[in-house]
Amino acid sequence: MNSLNLHGIQKSFGQTDVLVDIDLTVEAGTFVTLLGPSGCGKTTLLRIIAGLDAPDSGTVHGRGMTFVDTQAGIFIPPQARELGYVFQDYGLWPHLTVAENVAFPLQMRAMAKADIRERVTEVLGAVQLLNHADKRPEKLSGGQKQRVSIARALAGKPSLMLFDEPLSNLDANLREELGYEIRRLTRELGLTCINVTHDRREAQLLSDSIALMKDGRIHQVGPPDTLFQNPIDVWAATFLDAGNLLPGALFGLDTPTVLVGRSAATVDPTGTLHGLVTATLYIDDRYESLIQVEGHQLKVFTATRLNPGELVCLMIDTRSVRSLSG
């Protein structure tokens, strides 16, 4: 069963086309990220799925119902779509406590008080915030606020969850931790999730599949590893920062540009490419060096330190050289 189906979505604000003929199918139980630079229309697309914006034309099907069909004049308002939505700025109501925030969607469904209490306890437990239930959001840290926001979205047991850059307001360590937690929670509950971000790390951290967006169109779709190993063109490779871009002539190829994986280049005295080390740093557990080869810059990982000014020979594993169009 397809959990979400977008077809022929168009949207323009005044003269500018924000979304052009978007088709997207999201399988039930998968986590899909719409990844793209700012202004590519990804947030508008998410708001259209949620019902906070209406497309100029196209259809949106979700949870087995028709959310939007512009031809048939169908538009289900957001309050009737029963989705979970996690906002970038958390969107927690400052005048309500954590528990009251989480209870709100349940109250909207007119659930019995006892059931609400039980469910609130359950979801707050799932995000490990039970002992903060009676606090106001202002007393919480950024990571805790985002957890409350997730708990609130989960409370109504939605089958479709929408995330708007859920990790972008958090600092680096916390992002990874919460990223794993979102992954675990959504997989455990079998939720279908759509996430929007401009940050490739966040996309890699969360997604089963990534839809790369450019200028209001879907540019390329695929699982993270495929996408990063085989970007379809120079733009995709550059935006994803997928590796070193070099002229094909260096490898005797006709294509103007090829992509070379960072770990495909090794410093080796028998190597055929000659380069000059311009900078070197130590990151995580390895050295990262910038090497100038015939006027092109390569970023290379090495296990030992290279010194700026040093001349080196590079060996490139030709199996990881990919021709790129554009």
């Binding site: 957001p78 309050q79 779509r81 970038q88 927690l92 109501w93 969607p105 202002e138 926001s149």
Partner: protein, 529 residues
């Protein structure tokens, strides 16, 4: 909704110059009395603004180098002039400076000649209004901090050129923009020119309009022409102020707070305290003391004599069924009604304008170019002209409703502005989260926006209440026969020479304003973030 009320004021004034042929406009404008009044108004406003700015600038410069606690103390001090309605301030100065006034009784000299002169009016009004510039300039200096000056010093500038080349240009936008507000307030002020100016035949636009309505034959055309000029001037000054804020403010704001260190020089600190104390005594202590003393004196002629002090005036004011108690009740009920209505209308308008954007953006732009408040005299004239027309089957004219209507016209801009600003600062994700959670528009307003904006709405209501209880111009012009508000009561006591009862009432007004505004500030401070 508001637009209708506001529009009712503008076109109706024009309507008169439309029905009456346009030809009246030119003779009216060239009438020497009117042009004299316009010239007087402009001159007075310009000099009040200049004096207020010259008083405020040195104070705010000294304020920037104060320790936090000392600064807060003086800030509270200089809030007090806001509590004294200008007409009461003028009366207080009369008691002080006139022949046989408090100063002469205590020190043997009087300054009546100075008080009843252009200089006198200018000083009295400037002393009442300079805190506006002081607060604006000292806040701006606080934002600018010492950083830019420090950089200039590092680049080799001496203190004097640092001040003229760096600090002064940076604080200038705040100075000019608050100066323009003082200008507007002076030009629309009625009480002071009426009380002090009348004594030496000094007429400004607002008092001229008042004359045209109260002296036979009533000259409606002349009054409305003057009102148009009044609105135009207020509008221009307001636009100027907005443009200055729009162009300069963000550039200064971008640089965080790096407040200047409190000064450690003993000499400078002594000088600071001396200057602040002097200004506070003149602008705050003297008028307050004058009002308080008069309020408890049996007769003015009795002078500052122990036997002349009693609670008799207060007893007169609070005597059951007295005019005074009726005036208080009228003012209180009008003020409460105005506060509730404006807060409610303000909330609805803000929601419609900010959160239902397709309908709201154009209106918002329109609202933002309207002056913060239309001159009270123009509101009064507009309402009279509108509701005096013979074709209305029912008219609020000559009932209390017309006063309520006038207060609404005057005060609505405050709650609307406060609430739209507050609402725009609430992230839309708060509404959206509620919609996604299954709430409809009514639920969003009721459960999310109303509770979040309640403190701001209360604060706005308190401000409206405080201003309403002391409003003089429209009350004077529109009160139905036999009905008095606190302000008209005080004013009439002064006209009839029973100054002391009037002053007792004034003291009550000041105390009430203080309590209400204080409560409002506390509520506003409790907003969620």
């Amino acid at each position: 909704m508001i637009a209708i009320i506001l529009f009712a004021v503008f076109p109706k004034i024009n309507e008169l110059s439309l029905t009456a042929p346009f030809s009246l406009l030119i003779p009216n404008l060239t009438d020497p009395r009117l042009s004299g009044a316009i010239a007087n108004s402009l001159m007075l406003s310009a000099s009040v603004t200049a004096v207020a700015a010259l008083t405020a600038l040195p104070l705010s410069l000294l304020r920037a180098r104060m320790s936090k606690r000392q600064g807060q103390f003086w800030d509270v001090c200089f809030l007090i002039p806001f509590l004294i309605p200008p007409y009461i301030g003028s009366l207080a100065w009369m008691q002080l400076l006139q022949r046989n006034g408090f100063i002469e009784q205590l020190f043997g000299f009087h300054a009546g000649a100075m008080l009843y002169s252009f200089t006198g009016i200018t000083l009295v009004m400037a002393l009442n209004l300079f805190p506006l510039i002081y607060f604006s300039a000292s806040r701006s200096l606080m934002v600018i901090g010492s950083r830019y000056g420090d950089i200039a010093r590092v680049c080799g500038a001496n203190p004097l050129s640092t001040f003229f080349r760096i600090d002064l240009p940076l604080v200038l936008p705040a100075l000019v923009s608050s100066g323009l507000i003082v200008f507007i307030l002076t030009i629309e002020e009625f009480g002071t020119p009426e009380i002090l100016g009348r004594r030496f035949g000094f007429e400004v636009m607002v008092t001229a309009v008042h004359d045209k309505f109260t002296n036979w034959p009533v000259d409606l055309a002349g009054a409305s022409v003057l009102c148009c000029v009044l609105i135009l001037l207020a509008f221009l000054a307001y636009r100027g102020q907005q443009m200055i804020v729009a162009v300069y403010q963000t550039q200064v704001d971008a640089n965080g707070f790096a407040t200047a260190e409190p000064s450690t020089s003993v000499l400078l600190r002594l000088l600071t305290v001396g200057v602040f104390a002097l200004v506070a005594i003149i602008a705050v202590a003297l008028p307050l003391a004058s009002v308080t003393a008069s309020a408890f004196m049996d007769t003015m002629s009795g002078g500052l004599d122990r036997d002349n002090f009693s609670l008799r005036n207060m007893q007169t004011v609070f005597a059951p069924g007295s005019d005074a108690i009726n005036a208080i009740l009228t003012s209180l009920s009008l003020a409460i009604a105005a506060a509730l209505l404006t807060a409610l209308i303000g909330f609805l308008v803000a929601f419609t304008l900010v959160r239902l954007p397709s309908r709201g953006t154009a209106m918002l732009d329109f609202l933002s170019i309207l002056p913060n408040s239309i001159p009270g005299m123009a509101v009064a004239v507009g309402l009279i002209l509108t509701w005096n027309l013979p074709f209305w089957p029912v008219t609020p004219y000559n009932t209390l409703l017309i006063l309520l209507l006038a207060y609404l016209c005057l005060m609505l801009p405050y709650p609307i502005r406060m609430l739209t600003t507050a609402l725009r600062q609430l992230p839309t994700s708060l509404d959206h989260a509620a919609y996604v959670a299954g709430a409809n528009e009514i639920t969003v307003v009721r459960r999310i926006l109303a509770p979040l904006l309640a403190p701001v709405a209360f604060a706005a209501g308190f401000i409206v209440f405080a201003i309403s209880t002391r409003e003089l111009v429209t009350s004077l012009m529109l009160s139905p026969p036999g009905v008095e508000t606190v302000a008209t009561f005080v004013f009439r006591q002064f006209d009839q020479g029973s100054m002391n009862v009037g002053m007792a009432m004034s003291l009550l007004t000041i105390l009430l304003s203080a309590v209400v505004i204080g409560a409002g500030q506390r509520l506003a401070g409790r907003t969620f973030r």
